[in-house]
């Protein structure tokens, strides 16, 4: 699948582990639903509401459905990964995601209030990092994050963002122009 590339994504690439992480996270949820369904099924068999002859057949069908759902989730996550776009342009940060219902947020550097990096449990296990940045609006806090990068990329992104933001919000002139080096002999 074609990866939607930008300069920033080339420099600080998303990790392919992101696909695995997202798939695992969604699979856990699906697995819980699946297990609950199975337990209900077994209970209703033991109380005689469901004919136990059908039990193995129904279980088999459920397992097949489970695996196809996980496969679908995996393919969707690959697609999501491929269209994930982020770019630090000269004036703005652009983040666009969502293969079916795309949404794109554009934030000027001057408006960045906060840059932070975090990890959840799966991130810790897989060694991934989420780089969040937000302006003063609630929705930007929800939308504007680049998640699933590895440590070098996370550090690099954070450094570039902090550097650019501080350059932009410092007073318009740099305080001291660089000093001349002594003329070489």
């Amino acid at each position: 699948m074609k990866i939607s590339q930008s300069k920033t994504r080339e420099q600080f690439p998303l990790s392919y582990k992101k696909i695995i992480k997202k798939t695992i996270a969604k699979t856990l949820v699906i697995a819980i639903v699946f297990l609950v369904t199975l337990i209900v099924l077994f209970l209703s068999t033991s109380t005689g509401q469901v004919n136990s002859d059908w039990l193995s057949a129904i279980t088999f069908i459920l397992v097949v459905i489970f695996f196809f759902t996980v496969l679908a989730v995996y393919l969707y996550q690959r697609w999501y990964f491929a269209v994930y776009f982020y770019d630090l342009t000269q004036d703005y940060i652009v983040i666009r995601k969502g293969p079916i219902t795309p949404q794109e947020i554009t934030i000027p550097y001057e408006r960045i209030q906060d840059v932070y990096v975090d990890q959840d449990l799966l991130d810790r296990i897989l060694g991934l990092y989420d780089v969040h940045l937000s302006s003063a609006t609630i929705s930007s806090g929800m939308e504007a994050h680049i998640d699933g990068v590895e440590k070098p990329a996370a550090d690099g992104l954070r450094a570039v963002l902090l550097q650019t933001v501080s350059e932009r919000i410092s007073k318009r002139r740099a305080p001291v122009p660089p000093q001349a080096i002594p003329p070489q002999a």
Partner: protein, 243 residues
């Protein structure tokens, strides 16, 4: 061989919009040799109008300065008026397959068909040199004037309906609470990330809370309008910055 220190300095100052003359002056004051400065400047060719900000100008039709852009230039499409009715109609047809029929859904279509065109007819936005102005309301009128400098972020969103019909909605947010507190709809943040439901959120028309929504634009128009607004944000910075 241009000096890296000068080059970095020039780059950062140019990015802040300083003029070449001023940068040269302050470098000379700091004791740099004139020819070294000239040499370093050679790495930063004077931007020609077409090379300046290629992304916006490539897509942005040149509006002569002073021209006010309104909803007549980039209209909310007529199709958007029929968005909810179409979605409800699909639901009705879907339910019909299962043998259900709801009179209330028909009623909802009728109400939407009455209300949405009135809302759309009373919704006006305009982008002049200094302000993004939005007028809206049929009975209760509201006018919103947003200086470009305070815009916090710009969204371009497409929900499922938009995607199918090639529409997009443009949302502009500042940090105010103009709607009287943060009235977040209940589905906001239910799934933690998107804040968008397939049917709601992206479609809001006009100003609500800290947001101005221009829904139902053609995708291309939404991109163009976004670039115009970004350009105006760049031209009208505010001096007091956050953080």
């Amino acid at each position: 061989m241009p000096n890296n220190e000068i080059a970095d300095y020039i780059k950062s100052e140019l990015a802040k919009g300083e003029s070449r003359q001023e940068i040269t002056n302050s470098l000379l004051e700091a004791g740099w040799k004139s020819d070294a400065v000239q040499d370093a400047f050679r790495a930063f060719p004077v931007p020609t109008p077409s090379a300046n900000a290629p992304a916006p100008s490539a897509e942005t039709p040149s509006h002569p300065s002073g021209k006010v852009i309104t909803e007549k230039d980039y209209p909310v499409t007529k199709l958007w008026v029929f968005k909810e009715p179409i979605i409800i109609a699909v639901i009705i047809i879907g339910l019909a397959f299962f043998g259900y029929f709801s009179f209330y859904l028909i009623l909802a279509i009728i109400i939407y068909l009455l209300v949405v065109p009135i809302m759309k007819a009373n919704f006006h936005y305009s982008l002049d040199d200094k302000y993004l102005r939005v007028r809206q309301g049929f009975i209760a009128k509201k006018q919103r004037n947003l200086p470009y400098g305070v815009i916090q972020n710009v969204f371009v969103r497409q929900d499922l309906f938009d995607r199918v019909f090639g529409l997009a909605s443009l949302n502009i947010e500042n940090a105010s609470q103009a709607g009287g507190g943060n009235k977040l709809p209940w589905w906001y943040g239910v799934n933690g990330s998107s804040g968008t439901s397939i049917f709601g959120q992206a479609a809001s028309l006009g100003s609500s809370g800290n947001k101005i929504g221009i829904p139902g634009l053609k995708k291309q128009n939404a991109e163009t309008l976004k670039n115009i607004i970004l350009q105006k944000m760049k031209e009208n910075p505010v001096e007091e910055f956050g953080l």
